[in-house]
Amino acid sequence: MTSISESLRIAQAPRVDLTAGGDDAIASSPPRRQRSSGSIWRMRLEIAALAGPALVVFVVFVILPVGIAAYYGFFSWAGYGPATKFVGLQNYVTILQDNTFIEALKHNAMIAVLSLVIQGPIAIGLALLLNRKMRGQSVLRVLIFVPYVISEVVVGIGWSLMLQSHGAVNGFLESVGLGALKQDWLSNPSIAIWSLMLVITWKYIGFAVILFLAGLQGIPEELAEAAAIDGASYWQIQRNIVLPLLGPTIRIWAFLSIIGSFQLFDLVYIIWGQYVASTAGTSTMATYMVANGRNAGSYGYGNAVAVVMFLISLAIALLYQRFLLRRDADGAISGRKNS
């Protein structure tokens, strides 16, 4: 887990590390000195006072719920009073045998893959575009981030009004003479997931672009200049120098995108609601959890779904880290020996 953050930190591994001792897990701290025992206690007190509050809030509200979910997941519990009806693994058996859940999981996986395939190339292209000198560049940079700042509820309501069968999209198609292309964008099960992908791409592409822009700025301009002097074309420079150096940033983005796809809730719940989502083929594990847990009054079951989601996320994170992020931590070009 450390190395995920580590790679975030060194997402620009190729940069020559000027700070000494950069191979420490958390690099370059003030030099250690001999201190009297009084000052050691004083330091411990400072550490506790400064880091304590954040640590307590974090452990109680982020880590503890995982334990709570694991506990109640073994019970059939309506959410009130003490949980007494212990059912063992029954909840988990039910989840894994429930076709609705399996469908939801498939949708999650599909959304994760499609997000990478659709957003990745577009976002890299846009980041390269926005990284060159052009008129209106700063305006474009603001605009591309606008959808990310607008809340999921607003995005969901706006898009669902536009995409419904008598909505603006169909109205527009009709008025430009393409009435034949009119669709039930939201309710047709073979189209709905693509409509969802459209909304997701619109909403989250700005985040990817901003991350890539930040990554591009860390690439030394001298490299591109040197290549240009050697006669490399713009595209050769991007292809052979910029993209490889942007690799770590891309892998971090991909990780955040995959995790986000497996937790997707807001947009689906707002556009399709809890019941329509499964018939339209856009339900996700999170909407399944809410519909069959809280809304059905089965908190034990809901907690078991939470545990399953948690384990799936954990497995993905560990696999991803093992096979992709490790390379970053090893510092391919800088020759650093991390992790």
Binding site: I47, V62, G171, F172, S175, L211, A214, A224, A286, A306
Partner: protein, 290 residues
């Protein structure tokens, strides 16, 4: 040191000097299409609020023929809208304040103190990145209820602080590490304690990072949906996202009014963001630099 000082400024790319002049129009065309794709849905919501329902029914994708401000005035003069706005504002400002405060304190320790377990604590916070709030919402609700905080803004604010801490710490730690040791040594020689150094040097020097994490925390809180959905069940404590959704289902036939309400609700986050936009890239650059 380079990270904080460069923040907020984007170096002009110097490669590609004035060749292939044919590509320039293509680039501007792509940029124009892009702007259109981004803005059309936003424009639809804002313009729709100026139309009448019969207009929307007859021609869903058209412009307002007569600009009607009635829906906007209705919303702006409704008590519900302002109450939800102030609930959201209270939640967002409080969350941001504590996220920045607690995050800065913890990051300072993680960046500049040497003690056993430092790596473990950092790893623990980093692991939080893997668990967005959606995965924990069911047990989190049980926990918040056990504290007696359901239906209160505190029940939304405290978990939001907890879930914002991982990103905050991961962005801030590199910033604080970039402050040269010489600065701290000089401060110590002048009789400044570590805490004094924190107050007088670290806080001013980390401003770009603080602004970035502050914006991220503010926007996340302003837009937060699943947590208020579970915690707040009385209309009096609704925040804007819940209010927008309730309004949309209550007035589902009155599309224009829903659009007016929706567009007014997205304004504050947009204004807040556009004020600080330049700082975001700067702060993230600091974070992805070693």
């Amino acid at each position: 040191m380079s990270a904080p000082s460069l923040a907020g400024r984007l170096p002009a790319p110097t490669h590609r000097r004035r060749k292939l002049s044919i590509t320039t129009p293509v680039i501007y065309f792509v940029a124009l299409v892009l702007v259109g794709l981004i803005l059309v849905p936003v424009a639809y919501v804002i313009l729709g609020g100026f139309r009448s329902n019969s207009e929307i029914t007859v021609d869903p994708s058209g412009f307002p023929t007569t600009w009607q401000v009635g829906h906007y005035i209705d919303v702006l003069s409704s008590e519900v809208f302002w109450r939800e706005l102030s609930n959201s504002a209270i939640a967002a400002v409080t969350t941001t304040f504590f996220v920045v405060g607690l995050g800065l304190m913890a990051s300072f320790v993680l960046a500049r103190y040497q003690f056993r377990g430092r790596g473990a604590i950092y790893g623990l916070f980093a692991a939080g990145l893997m668990f967005p709030i959606a995965v924990a919402i069911t047990p989190l609700y049980i926990l918040v209820r056990a504290f007696g905080l359901t239906n209160s803004l505190a029940g939304v604010i405290i978990p939001q602080i907890a879930f914002a801490l991982p990103v905050t710490i991961i962005i801030l730690v590199p910033f604080l590490q970039a402050i040269p040791n010489e600065l701290q040594e000089a401060a110590e020689i002048d009789g400044c304690s570590r805490i004094g150094f924190f107050w007088r040097m670290v806080i001013p020097l980390s401003t770009p990072g603080v602004i970035t994490v502050g914006i991220l925390a503010f926007v996340a809180s302003w837009n937060s949906y699943i947590l208020p959905l579970f915690i707040l069940n009385g209309e009096a404590s609704y925040t804007i996202p819940l209010g927008v959704q309730a309004f949309a289902s209550q007035y589902s036939v009155d599309t224009a009014k829903v659009l007016a309400f929706t567009s007014l609700s997205m304004l504050p986050a947009l204004v807040f963001f556009s004020l600080f936009e330049r700082r975001i890239v700067g702060g993230l650059t600091g974070a992805v630099k070693g």
